[in-house]
Every structure is written in C-alpha cells, then in structure tokens.
Amino acid sequence: MNPLDTIKGTLIAGFVLAAVLAYLAKCIAGM
C-alpha cells in the first residue's frame, strides 16, 4: 500500500523524511 494514498500516511511520510534529512544535514555540515 502506498502511504501517499491517505492523508495520515502522507503526513507520517513527511515527518519521517524530515527526520532523515535532518540527520543527513548534520553529516553534510560536519556537525
């Protein structure tokens, strides 16, 4: 099932992506 098919799944996907990118941002900036 595609999480984007529901609003709830879309919002959860957005927050998961935010967390992953936040971790990557720290790595890229060398912090």
């Binding site: 595609n2 984007l4 098919d5 609003i7 879309t10 919002l11 996907a13 957005g14 927050f15 992506l17 935010a18 967390a19 990118l21 936040a22 971790y23 990557l24 941002a25 720290k26 890229i28 900036a29 060398g30 912090m31």
Partner: protein, 171 residues
C-alpha cells in the same frame, strides 16, 4: 538591488503561503470533497468544483509556485553566494547554508512536480486539453501522487526554511 531584498523576502513569504496554502487546500479539502460529491448520488456532483473552483485555484497555485521559487532563489543567492547553498554548503561547515540548501532543493523538486507533473495532467482531467477516459484515469493518478508527494515534502521543506535562522526542532 541589495536595498530591495526586504521586498524580495516579503514576496517570497507571500507567494510561499499562497502556494502551500493552496496545496493543502487541494489535499485536505478539494480532493476528498470531489470524491464525496462523486459518490453522492442525490447531490449536485463535483462538476461545479471542476468548472469554477479548480481552474482558478490551479491558476494561483502554479504561478505562486513559480513566484516563490524565483524570489527565494534570488534571496538565497544574494545572501549566501551564487552556488554555496545549491551545493548544500559542502565543506563550509555552516548549518545555516546546508539547511537553506536542502530547503531550496526540496522547493525546486516541488516546483518541478507542479509544472511538469501536476498542471499538464490537471489540464487533461479538467478537459482543458482533450484526453480519453483511460488517459484521464492515468493523469488523475500521476497528478494525485505528485500533489501528495509535495504535501509530504512540504513538511521538511518548511522545517529547513525555518531552521536556517531558528535551528532544527530536534537533534
């Protein structure tokens, strides 16, 4: 032009609110309303939304997206240099530049989705350009997924835009 950067920033915020506001309207209001209207046999149906509301909302939506990107890219490049933020501040050890760069790339992907995936497919769905029922069904799915992807990406995009000056909410 530096003395007019405050105006550029104000326009970026205005266009950004208009763009993401309409994106949330489509995802949280119009799409569920259209589905409910189509399923309601005794109701007036979704035709009026498709004819009077959706084209107008899409007109503001796609141009607000373009306006947001142009004013944002100009502001970012004026503030952080022409390439530093696009390169995610690689090697600069600056969280602010990395944050705004990630936000800018997310916004750029979202702009691509609006003009390349959502708008051309919406033209088929709304009958602005001719399409068979099968083409319309495919267009509906592509436009829907691109719009939902943008809604998901809007969360980290807004978070990184804010994080540039206010820091991240976690980590």
């Amino acid at each position: 032009m530096e003395e007019l950067l405050w105006l550029d920033r104000a326009l970026h915020i205005f266009f950004g609110v208009l763009w993401i506001g309409l994106l949330y309207y489509f995802n949280f209001v119009q799409v569920p309303a259209m589905a409910e209207a189509a399923a309601d046999a005794d109701g007036p149906g979704p035709a009026a939304i498709g004819k009077y509301v959706a084209p107008r909302a899409l007109l503001y939506f796609r141009h607000a997206a373009l306006g947001t990107w142009i004013t944002g890219a100009y502001y970012m490049m004026s503030t952080y240099g022409h390439t530093a933020a696009w390169k995610l501040g690689w090697g600069l050890e600056s969280l602010s530049i990395t944050y705004i760069g990630i936000g800018a790339w997310l916004g750029t992907i979202m702009l691509f989705n609006v003009w390349v995936l959502i708008w051309p497919n919406q033209k088929k769905i709304l009958g602005i350009v001719p399409a068979t029922d099968e083409e319309k069904a495919t267009a509906k799915r592509i436009a829907f997924l691109a719009s939902r992807s943008n809604t998901a990406m809007s969360i980290p995009m807004l978070m990184f835009m804010m994080a540039t000056t206010h820091g991240l909410p976690f980590f």
